[in-house]
């Protein structure tokens, strides 16, 4: 492709959704990835599309739009990625946990999230194998799920059908600019010219920012997921303990986990995910697998006979304030970031694509994008570091 209107670096779910939104807006888009589609964190993600785990605020607004956008996208490109509105159930077994959960659910409800409170009977009716000692939970009918690798692949397929170009196997090594305006990029094999470059490299977004002589504090947060052998349909929703919500918002480095348990279209059960900050250390840590197994069994005792088949891990891209970075770089014009979605990149991808596209094309965005702006990290105090 000669002279693309925009170059997207990264063919994970965020890059794919950004490329699709830009293409749908009429831009000629070139996507570049050093590997195949979904070869980064997207290939290690679990596929939860959650509204239930977000506190009211900008991220929840983004998540609510994104959830609906997933279903619109499904229709638009013809599906093929196991999207399912299965609903999420958040439970708690401690007094403090229950009162926190009630408070959160009430706040979420006033922000327009659908919530249904359930007691033990209500829970047993819709999740018959849930441990009988669970007495309180909230059902979030809008929580959904997809298979993230297939999603990214199907979206890239649509991008290509609609005129976009996907170059894979090229490593971006430089973001070129002139007087602090982007002019294009160089890979280990070629150079490409474009006035707009979108950095959708997830956990590696800081490196791309650096190549452009800018700065972005995106770091890895490791997570393990357990995959079981195929089982009959034992679990109907995605079910997790309210502690999970506390983990998501936590900044602590040491291991945290709270099992999110759910069945998949292929019959396997996913149990995820741990969260810890150990850099890019990919070693299998059996202690984490055991902890996740214990938590899953405590929610669903029947799982103790189901076998662990695989465990995989990935590195969530996270920013210090746990919000994604979506917007134009404060130092280099024409460089846009769509990265740092931490443990919610699958869920938030379509709305991220919309938000970045409306800003680039000058249309009015569906929400105020300023809370996500990279500017928040690009004041002098950060750049000096």
């Amino acid at each position: 492709m000669k002279n693309p209107d925009a170059i997207v670096i990264g063919a994970g779910v965020v890059g794919a959704c950004s490329a699709l939104a830009l293409t749908n807006a009429g831009l000629k888009v070139l996507v570049i990835d050093r590997g195949p589609v979904a070869s980064g964190t997207t290939g290690a993600g679990e596929g939860n599309i959650l509204v239930s785990d977000k506190e009211p605020g900008a991220e929840l607004t983004l998540a609510m739009r994104s959830r609906d956008a997933w279903f619109e996208l499904d229709t638009d490109i013809g599906g093929g990625f196991e999207l399912e509105a299965k609903g999420g159930i958040v439970v708690s077994r401690s007094e403090k946990g229950i009162s926190n959960l009630k408070r959160l659910a009430t706040l979420q409800k006033s922000s327009g999230v659908e919530t249904i409170e359930l007691d033990r009977n209500g829970l047993q009716k819709i999740e018959p194998y849930l441990s009988a000692d669970v007495e309180y939970g909230v059902l979030y009918p809008k929580d959904a799920q997809c298979q993230p690798m297939l999603a990214a692949a199907q979206i890239m397929r649509a991008v290509k059908k609609r005129g976009g170009v996907f170059v894979q196997g090229e490593n971006v090594i430089k973001v070129n600019s002139n007087h602090n305006s982007v002019t294009g990029i160089s890979t280990d094999k070629n150079s490409y010219i474009s006035p707009i470059v979108i950095n959708a490299t997830g956990t590696w977004a800081g490196e791309i920012a650096k190549m452009a002589n800018s700065y972005l504090p995106i770091m890895p947060r490791r997570g393990f997921i357990l995959v079981t052998s195929p089982a009959p349909k034992l679990i109907h929703h995605k079910v997790y303990d309210a502690d999970y919500v506390a983990n998501v918002a936590s900044g602590q480095a040491d291991l945290q986990s709270s099992a999110v348990v759910e069945g998949t279209a292929s019959g396997t059960i996913l149990i995820g995910a741990s969260r810890e900050r150990v850099g890019f250390n990919g070693e299998l840590d059996v202690a984490i697998l055991r902890q996740l197994a214990r938590q899953a069994i405590s929610l669903f005792p029947i799982l103790s006979n189901v076998q662990l088949l695989r465990a995989y891990r990935g590195f969530r891209p996270y920013a210090p304030d746990h919000l994604p970075v979506i917007g134009e770089d404060a130092l280099i014009s024409g460089l846009w970031h769509a990265a740092g979605h931490e443990g919610a990149g699958i869920g938030l991808a379509p709305a991220t694509g919309e938000l970045i596209t409306s800003q680039i094309t000058g249309q009015s965005p569906f929400m105020d994008p300023s809370p996500f702006s990279p500017k928040r990290f690009q004041g002098s105090e950060y750049v000096a570091v």
């Binding site: 195949p36 692949a153 199907q154 052998s229 088949l309 695989r310 465990a311």
Partner: protein, 461 residues
Amino acid sequence: MHNVVIVGAGPAGLSAAIAAAAAGAPVLLIDSNPRMGGQYWRMAADSLENQIDQHYDLETGLLLINAVKARKEIEVWSNAQIWSATHKDGVNTLRIIHQDNEKIVNTKNLIICTGAYDRTLPFPGWDTPGVMTPGAVQSLLKGHAVLAGKRIVVAGSGPFLLPVATGVLKAGGEIVELIEANKPIRWLKSFAAMLENLHKINEGYYYLKTISTGKVRPRFGYAVVRAYKADNDELDSVDIAKIDRNFNIRKIKNIKCDVAAIGWGFTADTSLAGSLGCKQIVAEDDGVVIWADDKQQTSVTGIFVAGEITGIGGSELSMAEGVIAGISAAKFVGCKVEIKKAHIKRRAKKQRFATALIRAYPIKSGWKSWLTGESIICRCEEVDLNDLKHAITELGATDSRTAKLFTRCGMGLCQGRICGRSVVDLVADNLEISPTDIDRIAAVNRPIITPIPLGVLAAGE
């Protein structure tokens, strides 16, 4: 505290255990089977008595097994399956399922002899009950005294087909066809290796004699290329094709049978050694094996390997390597012992024969032409060739890992042990590229070596 831990009680592991114990090292020998002997000397339970007829060289096996039992320095854990292993700061942690409980063994000195299993190639109908591996037919006989069926076709490639056919005849079964895809003439290329291993020719002669007494005439240059189901959805018949040198089909005829035992040599099970970080390489037959130096030590100090996981070479090479690995490991823990010249010479001789074998029985790329779009490739997840092609042409997979994640091909309970090797070849073929060593090695990466109940996992610490 055991000085040397050995995994696998086949020809390699037994030899290693005896060598290490003889040198003065206490040994813990771990094996997942209920009885020692590995694949070659698969033993039946006492109540069934050993199926002596089914063995060519049971004497050696019993000698080794009894020697292991007699040595008090050797402790044996049978029915003990390692499900996970990790290496950290020189210590190997083995996590073992033993009678529904988990045991943990930490050791600095490990000999891994986990052997191999039959290599299979997918073809239309290969998931029909009645189609099985030659190893299955043999283990049913050796281990359980059961004949797999009434009318048996033995096919594929490699010398292993001969003992399997022999075993069936000895047990009173009927061999309808014994067919080998390669021509015997290929052996002439390795004349020297044959001459120095004449007793192997004797073994072959013994099998061929039994086979001809059973009025079976082996065919060369043929292959089973399709299996058909009867009304009860079990095996009814197979198509046998005359094939050319590249395994492309020339002429087909249909043969009725209730068992088709088809194997294409062996695939090493490197999962355990791979989990511990031992360097894996691609052998001449494109199979992934563990690299070892002349002392049988892997790229990880203190971990030694022997037997089929260093390259497919048969029981004698396995034993020769096992002895050296046992000595090396004993020396590593401080025993005063040296590898002798004779050990090295024996291993070299067996290695030359093994190399000759691999060259005499190549698997040629034409097998892919036997498949149709609807042929199942991954038996566990029921992924067919069309699904794989879709992942490549429509979803943009450009390597076997991505194709696997898109289709679930190789992600079922066997963890790609059965289809993984073929999938790498099929994906590359559809992309019109050659598979890389990285592709092949990625396909055997199994950090969870065998599935483990979550309850057992949760109970561990």
